[in-house]
Structure formats: C-alpha cells, structure tokens
Symmetry: C2
Subunit: 319 residues, 2 copies
C-alpha cells in the first residue's frame, strides 16, 4: 500500500492507494496557502497519519509516500525548488515528512504524476512510452519512457508548456516568446478571445455570456460557444488546436511515444477537442508512411494526482 499526496494551491488531498493503483480511501483539507511552509507540511503529516488511523492499516505496511507539487522539484534532495501557487522557493519537503513518519518519501511535479497515474491505471495502461499534456490555466507535461517517468538530469524535463512552437503577440510569464502555453491553455484562449472582441467588436454569443465583464470569461464559455458554431469562438479554438498540434507533432519528431493523452480542465471538453486535435496532427505530421500516433483523453479525474503521487514509490522500486 502507498500514500499519495496531491498538494495544490487550494486543497491538500491525501489517499491510500494499493499496488494496482486503486484509490482505497482519501481525505482532503484546504491548503490555506497564505500560511508558512512549515504549517502546511505539518498539516500534510497529520492528514497522512489520520488516513492511516482511519483506514486501520498498519503504518509498517505503507511502502512509500509520494507528493505531487504544481511546481519545480529537486527529485534528488526532495526539495521544492519553486512553486508559484504556494509561494515556495527552496523548501525541503521530503526530509520533514520522512523524519516525522519514518516512511520513504518521493516528490515530483503534478503533471508528471498525472501522466504516471494514467500509465498505471488510465489511458496509458499497457504502453511503454507515452506523453500527457495537462491543458489548464497553463500547459503541463509528463513523459513516460520505457515504463519510467522521465525526469531529466536536473529534474526539469517534461516542462512541455514552455516549448516554443511559434511566435505570439505577447510574451510568456517565463520571459520567452511563443511557448505552447501562451497558445493552448485556458489563459491563452481567454487572452485571445478578449483581444479579438476588443479589436473587432465582432458579433459573438460570448459578449452576452460575460455581460460586459471580461473577468467572467473562461475556457468553458469559449469552447461551448465554438461547439455551438460561434465564429469568433471557433477562430479562437482553431488557433488553440493549431499550436497544440504543432507541439504534439514536435514531440512525435523528438520522442516518438506510443500515445499522447490530453488531460487537465480543458480536456473535459471531450470529443469535440479530441477530434480536432487528431485531425490536425494527422494533417500536419511528418513521415506520412509511419502510423499515426494514438491520441486519447485522460481517463482518471481529480484522483489522478493522488494515484500518480502514490505510484512514485512503485517507480522507485520500493517493494
């Protein structure tokens, strides 16, 4: 049995997961991210202990604890290098939890762990290599090669949202221009919709939906409008799909995985998005006489974070 911790800016979710990546029991509490790192880590430790007590499983039977972070980790030391949502920089995370509970702890990036969860129990089950793209406020990535998460030499691999795929009218937060997440995230389509609405004053059902307040604009409204045939929204979605497909074809040319999985909030749009991405990737891919790489939607929901984190212990061969 493994413990998985999904540490987000809003909630801390902790769960008990078995060898077959099945979530047996879980609880969550608010992160209250304005607090100190020490206070948050103390809450994580207490919640793990509570889960173990509640479920009545002997602590000695827990092989490992995994923690997923929406940020950059040093997977060797187990420190969080940077996590914007929590306002953390160089925070030791592995060591305090290990010291408190006496169980091996591993930490990794949350998108990487969403990929690991899909690999163990979802859309990537049974493959040897796959890439998840988590399409949300930003774009995250997780890469599985030869059945192992690919972390890289410095632990910064799979930051797919910061692959430059074109030239954009605004710079990415990271300082570069043309990052995938400035084209194919919810922030990106909100920005672009706003730009088109302000520039062209075109007819769009979105104007009514947001009642003149751009604060009300979100990815769901834009995709729904596109599905219902709104021209402005369709233009926005086409641009999203165009650059996402450039990113996917780039990754085929670089890594050539067996499968791609689309996850994150935007993937809930479902078949409408999936069909468009498949069509565009097929239209633009190189090497026409090579089979088309499979693209699927993520199968696990919110529990992917906990499951992926828990499966880190299995990756590190704690058996």
């Amino acid at each position: 049995m493994y413990i998985g911790v999904d540490l987000g800016g809003t909630n801390i979710a902790v769960g008990l997961v078995d060898e077959e990546a099945r979530l047996k029991y879980q609880k969550s509490i608010p992160t209250k991210s304005e607090r100190t790192a020490e206070a948050i880590i103390m809450d994580i430790i207490n919640l793990i202990q509570e889960i173990i007590n509640d479920y009545g499983f002997p602590k000695e039977g827990i092989k490992a604890i995994g923690v997923g972070i929406p940020g950059l980790v040093n997977y060797k030391t187990g420190d969080v290098i940077q996590c914007v949502n929590l306002n953390w920089e160089n925070v030791p995370l592995k060591v305090p939890i290990e010291n408190a509970l006496g169980i091996p702890v591993f930490i990794d990036n949350d998108a990487t762990l969403a990929g690991l969860a899909e690999f163990e129990a979802g859309a990537m089950k049974g493959v040897k290599s796959g890439i998840i793209l988590t399409l949300g406020t930003g774009v995250g990535g997780g890469i599985i090669i030869d059945g192992k998460i690919h972390t890289g030499f410095n632990g910064i691999a799979s930051e797919i949202g910061h692959m430059v795929v074109g030239e954009n009218y605004y710079d990415c937060n990271c300082g570069r221009n043309g990052c995938l997440e400035t084209f194919s995230s919810s922030s990106a389509i909100i920005n672009y919709t706003k730009k088109l609405m302000e520039e062209k004053n075109s007819e769009t059902v979105i104007a009514d939906k947001i009642q003149g307040n751009y604060e009300n604009l979100n990815g769901k409204i834009i995709f729904e409008a596109a599905i219902n045939g709104d021209q402005l929204a369709k233009k926005v979605v086409d641009r999203f799909v165009k650059y996402l497909s450039i990113g996917i074809v780039n990754l085929i040319n670089i890594i050539d995985p067996e499968i791609f999985v689309l996850g994150g909030g935007i993937s809930k749009v479902g078949g409408f998005l999936l069909d468009k991405v498949r069509e565009e990737v097929n239209r633009t891919k190189n090497f026409k006489n090579i089979p088309v790489t499979k693209i699927k939607l993520a199968e696990l929901g919110n529990e992917a974070g906990i499951i992926g984190a828990a499966m880190l212990g299995k990756q590190h061969k704690i058996n």
Copy 2:
C-alpha cells in the same frame, strides 16, 4: 570487434571497431548512388568481406555489423523506409547483409549514430544522457537517454531538425513552417543571406567572395564573414544562433539531458559558434536557479559515422 558502415550519398565507408570504440582499420569507395539498391548493397557486402580479409581478423570474431543511413529506418525490420540521398524507399538492408555474411546486422539513422559515437568515444563519454545536433545541409539529431539511443515507438524519434521553433518566411521541405532546419542549417543561412542581399543590396564582403553567383555561397563563407565583422553576415549568424538556442532550450524543457553536442559541418566553425550558442542559451533558458546544461563541440570527425554504426551492436547487447 564490430563492423561499422557509414552509407552516404557520396561514399560508403566501412571500418573495423573494437570494444572501446577505437577504429582499427577502414576503407571507403564511392557510392555511385545512381545505381540500384541491390548493386550498392552488394558493394557494401564485398567491402565488409575485404576489410575482414585485409585485417586478418576471423569472421567469427565479428559480433555485429551496424549500418548508418542518412534517412528514416525501420529498426525492427531493418528496412530503409526513406532515404532521399540514395533515392531509396522501403529497401530491405539488414536481411540481405545478414544472409550474405551470417553476422547480426543493425541499422539506424546517421545523426543518431553520430550521437552514439560521441557517447562511446567523444564529447559525451561518461554521461548518461545527451543530445547531438548535427548542423549541416539540414539539422539531424541523436538522443541518448539512460545510456541508450532513443529510437522511439515507430523509430522516428530524434528528428530534431523538424521541431517547429518559430515562424519562417518559407516552408520546410517537409511541408510544415518553422522547422529548426529552416533556420539553423547551411541551406537556411544560404537562403537568408541571399534574401538579405537581394532585398537590401547592403554592403557585404560576401558579394565579392561569390562573384555575383549565388551558387558559390556556402556556410563557410558566411561564418568567415561574420567572424571578420561583416554586418550582413553577423545578422545571418545571429538568426541562426537565436533559433538554434530556442531549439536547445526547448529540448532542455522537454528532455533535460546532461549535455548537448554540436556536430556536423557547421560545427567546424568551432569556438565562435559555441560561445554564441552558450551565451544565448544561458540568456534565454527557463528556471534560472537550475545549472546551465553543458554544450560542447563534437570531438570525432568523419569517422563518427563508422564508429557509431559499429557501436549499434554493443547497444543491442551483442556480446
């Protein structure tokens, strides 16, 4: 002992390579690529036999034969899927050589094998992960992960020249727009120099060098002019470096290797190019508090092709 075959559009070079990736003996003959595939393959077989006889090494002591191709291979069947230089499509290569000589044969892409050669005996020696970029007429790539060449699910991984890194004024031969090799290859800088010279009619020493004939333009002339301070040539080289660095930073964000190696004809420019690329990558990389990834020049010369091909047998654990 292993045999390595470097099959190019101009020459077929074959060599005998020992366990430590040392080239012991080699011979080469013209490819005469206008001939049939059968005739060329027969020449390869004869040249291998000749090398073995000349060197007086028992054929039974040859563990494997590796063949490098400037094209796309199916590494499972050992067929050449596509090779523009030889005008080959779907040509069986592994099987006829194996049948003729009774030694296991492996084939792979030549840029991948240049990477393998650097990994076994050159700039990547001692690392676990690295990426070579071969900068020539096009841009090739070779990726080593965990000490193994990364081939991908369909065998098309490491086609780094076809990573889209921006938007360009002309399309790539592959049909996409913005491929790295349309910015950072010798063809790319020849095209761009020509464009600038035609558009602006600016003062440039290149005009004299080519004596009014763009056919005389090549990468060497452009880099030499830039080194000597020619403004137009400097602009061309800066653009080459800008996009090459975008490609390298993308690969850091995706794969995060221990080292990058610059190979191919253009890498012979040496320190001038290396310094510029290092500076630009350092200036534009994400994650400022992560160490800068090492970038080096390739150390092996023309023999990289033979050595890399020979080392394929070692990769496939033919011992």
